[in-house]
């Protein structure tokens, strides 16, 4: 079963705008990760936030985690056409063993 559910399923914005994607999950977690997938390619890790962290930054990426609401958000600032991709959250569930559970993803399209 899918642990993470991303919202929205698809997002279309203009270059230069900010893009926000949300992920909700069901059980307690050790950490939550965000991955990007360009069309026809494998997933690439973007950022990892641990359960005791509330916010993390990496370049134009900002991730927040609210464990009380079991949700996370990924903000991409000043988006570029090259940011067009699908974005997935993945959770490392507490007691879930040595594996991640991926959500269904958000398709982001950044138009010129």
């Amino acid at each position: 079963s899918q642990q993470g559910e991303e919202d929205p399923q698809a997002l279309s914005i203009q270059e230069g705008e900010n893009a926000t994607m949300n992920c909700s999950y069901k059980t307690s977690i050790n950490n939550l990760q965000w991955y990007r997938q360009n069309s026809g390619r494998g997933l690439v890790h973007l950022i990892l936030i641990r359960s005791n962290e509330r916010e993390k930054h990496s370049g134009r990426l900002r991730v927040t985690l609210d464990t009380s609401k079991k949700s996370s958000s990924l903000l991409i600032t000043a988006s570029r056409a090259a940011d067009t991709a699908s974005y997935f959250c993945a959770t490392d569930e507490t007691g879930g063993g040595n594996k991640l559970t991926f959500g269904t993803g958000t398709q982001l399209k950044v138009e010129l």
Partner: protein
């Protein structure tokens, strides 16, 4: 470093045929994973391995078998392919547990194998 590589990139099978997908990593990772990706479904874990000689079932293991005879290789086998196994298959690997932690670290993905079963 080549990272994670997958062979083949694309394959067409007839129902009932068998095949093996090969995943290789050169990062000395302990953990390796096989996922399938279908439209609107995200990634679903088929099987995984936490070390040479060990394998475990994931979320959707039926119809697949795996082997991890060498640390750097993880093979996914389809004994009798079915149209429902048409999908894109991704292999991934990750670092070992460090300092006794059970946390799951970053996974590194291969480019995928596109499989069509007719």
């Amino acid at each position: 470093n080549a990272g994670v590589t997958q062979t083949p990139k694309f394959r067409v099978l007839k129902t009932g045929q068998s095949m093996t997908l090969l995943c290789a990593q050169d990062m000395n990772h302990e953990y390796m994973y096989w996922y399938r990706q279908d439209p609107g479904m995200g990634l679903r874990l088929i099987h995984y391995s936490v070390g040479e000689g060990t394998t475990a079932k994931g979320e959707v293991p039926d119809g697949y078998n795996v082997s991890r005879l060498k640390k750097q290789n993880f093979l996914l086998g389809l004994e009798s392919a079915a149209p429902s196994q048409t999908s894109v298959y991704f292999c991934a690997s990750s670092y070992p547990i460090r300092g006794g932690s059970s946390f799951q670290e970053t996974q590194y993905f291969g480019p995928g194998t596109r499989l069509l079963v007719l």
